[in-house]
C-alpha cells in the first residue's frame, strides 16, 4: 500500500501554489499540501521551485516550533509528489476574523502576532509571506503560522524589515480600516520579544523599504 493515497481526500482549498486536501491518514485528521504543477512556468523552473519549497517548508516549520511558534506538525514529506502531510489545525483564518473582532480583541491578537513574528526573527527565521491568510486562530486562542514556502534563514535587518513590511502591506490592503492600530500593536508585541533597540532598527529599515516602492514622495 502506498504511504499516501489522497484519492478519497477532499480538496478544501486551492491556494496560490498548492492544493490543500483534508482527510484521514493512519487514524489522524490531516491536511495534505500538494504543490501542483504550474503550467505558466517552464518545466525545469517549475520542478526546481516545487522541490525546493516542499523540503524547505517542512524543515523550517519544524524549526519554527522550536522557536515557540505554533505550526502544524509535519507527518510526512513525499518529494516525488511534492507533498507534505501535516496535522489538521481547527480554527479560523485571521483574514476572515480580524475585521469582526472588538477593538480590544483585535489589538490583543495583533500583539500576539507581533510577539510570534519576534520569536521567529530571534531564531533567524524569516517567514517570507506574512499575511493574515497565513495565520489560523484556534478556539483556545493560539495562533498557528502556516505557509512557510517562501521562508528563509537570515539574521539580516533587511530581511526582517521586508517581513514586517509585508505584514503591514497585508493589513493595509485587507484590514485598511484598522491598519495603524493593528500594525502598532504588532510592533508592541514584537518589541516584547526582541527588545526596543532591535525593534527600532528594524522599523527604520521598514520605512526605508516602503520608500523603495514606486513613487513614494520623499517626506521631510
Amino acid at each position: 500500500m502506498a504511504l499516501l493515497d489522497i484519492a478519497n481526500f477532499d480538496l478544501i482549498r486551492k491556494g496560490a501554489e498548492a492544493n490543500l486536501y483534508s482527510g484521514e491518514w493512519y487514524g489522524r485528521k490531516v491536511i495534505v499540501k500538494k504543490r501542483v504543477e504550474k503550467r505558466y512556468r517552464v518545466e525545469p523552473l517549475d520542478k526546481k521551485i516545487r522541490a525546493y519549497r516542499t523540503i524547505h517548508e517542512g524543515q523550517i516549520m519544524h524549526e519554527a516550533k522550536k522557536a515557540g511558534v505554533p505550526t502544524p506538525t509535519i507527518y510526512l514529506i513525499d518529494l516525488s509528489g511534492f507533498t507534505i502531510v501535516m496535522e489538521y489545525v481547527e480554527g479560523v483564518r485571521l483574514r476572515d476574523s480580524l475585521n469582526n473582532f472588538s477593538a480590544e480583541e483585535r489589538l490583543r491578537t495583533c500583539r500576539k502576532v507581533g510577539n510570534l513574528i519576534g520569536r521567529l526573527h530571534e531564531r533567524s527565521i524569516i517567514h517570507g509571506d506574512l499575511t493574515t491568510s497565513n495565520m489560523i486562530l484556534t478556539p483556545d486562542e493560539k495562533i498557528f503560522f502556516i505557509d512557510f514556502g517562501l521562508s528563509l534563514y537570515s539574521t539580516e535587518v533587511e530581511d526582517r524589515g521586508v517581513d514586517l513590511h509585508l505584514m503591514k502591506r497585508a493589513l493595509n490592503s485587507t484590514h485598511y480600516k484598522y491598519v495603524n492600530q493593528c500594525f502598532n500593536a504588532v510592533i508592541e508585541g514584537y518589541k516584547t520579544e526582541v527588545g526596543d533597540q532591535k525593534t527600532e532598527r528594524v522599523l527604520t529599515k521598514v520605512r526605508e523599504i516602503e520608500k523603495r516602492g514606486r513613487y513614494f514622495a520623499e517626506r521631510a
Binding site: E17, R39, Y40, R41, V42, D129, L150, R169, T174, Y215
Partner: protein
C-alpha cells in the same frame, strides 16, 4: 442638445505625448499620439522628451479635435496627466492643459496616470471589480479597489517589469521598443538558462534578474536569453498575482499597461485566472501603451464626480502613488 459630455485628455508622463477626446457614453472619439524615440541603446532624456512634446503638441491637438469632430468650446472638461512621471515631460503637458482651460474657461481635472491605465482597461473590457495587474515602464503593481481607493496587494520592490525588458534590450543593442524586440526573439529561444527568481510575499524584485541576464550577454544565444529573462520575470509576477488572487478571491483579473501587450505574459496570467475560476481581461491593444484616451476617460469619470481644481493649484506630482488617490466613482 446632446446629453453626452466631452472630456479632452492630455498625456505627457514619459515618451508619449497624446491627446484624446472621450464622451460620457464611453466612446473614444479620437486618440492621437506622437512618441519621442531616444537613440538606440539609450533611455529617455527627460529634457529632450519635454522638448519633443512641446514641438508636437499643437499638431497632435489639432488632429485630435479634427478626428473627434468636437469643437473646443463644446468640451466639458480638460484633463491632464499630473503624475507620476518625468517632471519636465509632465510640466509640458500641464502647461498646455492650463493654457487651454484658461483660454476656453473650462474646468481642469488632474489625473493620476496609473488610474488612467486601469480605467481605460476597465472601459475597453467591461471588467467591473477586477484584481488589476498594472505593468508598464513606470509601474508593476497588483491592486484592487476597496472603499474608494486602490489597495496595493503586491508591487515591485525595485525596478518595473517594463524597465527589466527595456534595459535588457538596450544592453543587448536591440532597437526600441525594447519590450517587443525581446518578445520576438524569445519566441525563437529554446534553452532555459537559470536566472535569479525573487518573490517576496506578493512582491517581486527584478534588479538581480536584470543584472544577471545582462552579464550573460555574449555567453549564450540572445534568443535563449530573451526567452529565459521573460520566463523568469513573468513567472515571478504570475506567482505574485496568483497569491494575490487566492488572497482577495476576486472574480476578475485585468491586465493593463504597456507590457500587457506581451502575449507570453497574457497566456501565463490566463492560466492562473482560469484555475481560480475568474475571468481574464486584457486592455485593448490600442490603449495598452501610454495614450491620451486613458487620461481623458479617467478625467471624465473624476469630473462627473465633481473632482476639479483651480488652475493655480494644478502642480504636477512626479511621485504620485496610485494608492493615494481617492476614487469617488468606485465603491
Amino acid at each position: 442638445m446632446n446629453a453626452n459630455s466631452y472630456c479632452l485628455g492630455i498625456e505627457s508622463t514619459a515618451h508619449t505625448f497624446g491627446a484624446s477626446i472621450v464622451s460620457s457614453d464611453g466612446t473614444v472619439l479620437c486618440d492621437v499620439k506622437e512618441v519621442y524615440a531616444p537613440e538606440v541603446g539609450k533611455g529617455i532624456h527627460p529634457r529632450e522628451a519635454a522638448q519633443h512634446h512641446s514641438q508636437v503638441a499643437p499638431e497632435v491637438l489639432r488632429r485630435a479635435f479634427k478626428e473627434a469632430t468636437v469643437k473646443p468650446k463644446n468640451l466639458d472638461a480638460i484633463s491632464f496627466s499630473a503624475g507620476p512621471g518625468l517632471g519636465p515631460a509632465l510640466r509640458t503637458g500641464a502647461t498646455i492643459a492650463r493654457a487651454l482651460a484658461v483660454f476656453l474657461s473650462k474646468p481642469i481635472v488632474p489625473v493620476n496616470h496609473a488610474i488612467g491605465h486601469i480605467e481605460i482597461g476597465a472601459l475597453t473590457t467591461g471588467a467591473r471589480d477586477p484584481l488589476v495587474v498594472l505593468v508598464s515602464g513606470g509601474h508593476t503593481a497588483i491592486t484592487a479597489c476597496a472603499d474608494r481607493r486602490w489597495r496595493i496587494f503586491g508591487e515591485t520592490e525595485d525596478i518595473t517589469l517594463g524597465n527589466v525588458l527595456d534595459s535588457f534590450a538596450r544592453e543587448a543593442k536591440l532597437p526600441p521598443p525594447g519590450g517587443s524586440a525581446v518578445e520576438k526573439l524569445a519566441l525563437k529561444g529554446k534553452k532555459f538558462i537559470e536566472l535569479p527568481y525573487t518573490v517576496k510575499g506578493n512582491d517581486v524584485a527584478y534588479s538581480g534578474l536584470l543584472t544577471a541576464a545582462s552579464k550573460k550577454l555574449g555567453d549564450h544565444d540572445l534568443e535563449d536569453l530573451c526567452f529565459s529573462i521573460q520566463e523568469v520575470a513573468f513567472s515571478m509576477l504570475t506567482e505574485a498575482v496568483e497569491r494575490s488572487l487566492a488572497h482577495t478571491e476576486k472574480k476578475e483579473v485585468l491586465l493593463t499597461g504597456g507590457v500587457a501587450a506581451n502575449k507570453r505574459l497574457q497566456s501565463a496570467l490566463e492560466v492562473i485566472t482560469e484555475e481560480h475560476g475568474a475571468e481574464f481581461y486584457v486592455v485593448d491593444h490600442k490603449y495598452s501603451g501610454d495614450c491620451g484616451a486613458q487620461i481623458a476617460w479617467a478625467g471624465l469619470l473624476a469630473f462627473k464626480c465633481g473632482v476639479k481644481m483651480k488652475v493655480e493649484d494644478t502642480v504636477v506630482r512626479p511621485k504620485w502613488r496610485l494608492d493615494e488617490v481617492e476614487i469617488p466613482w468606485r465603491s
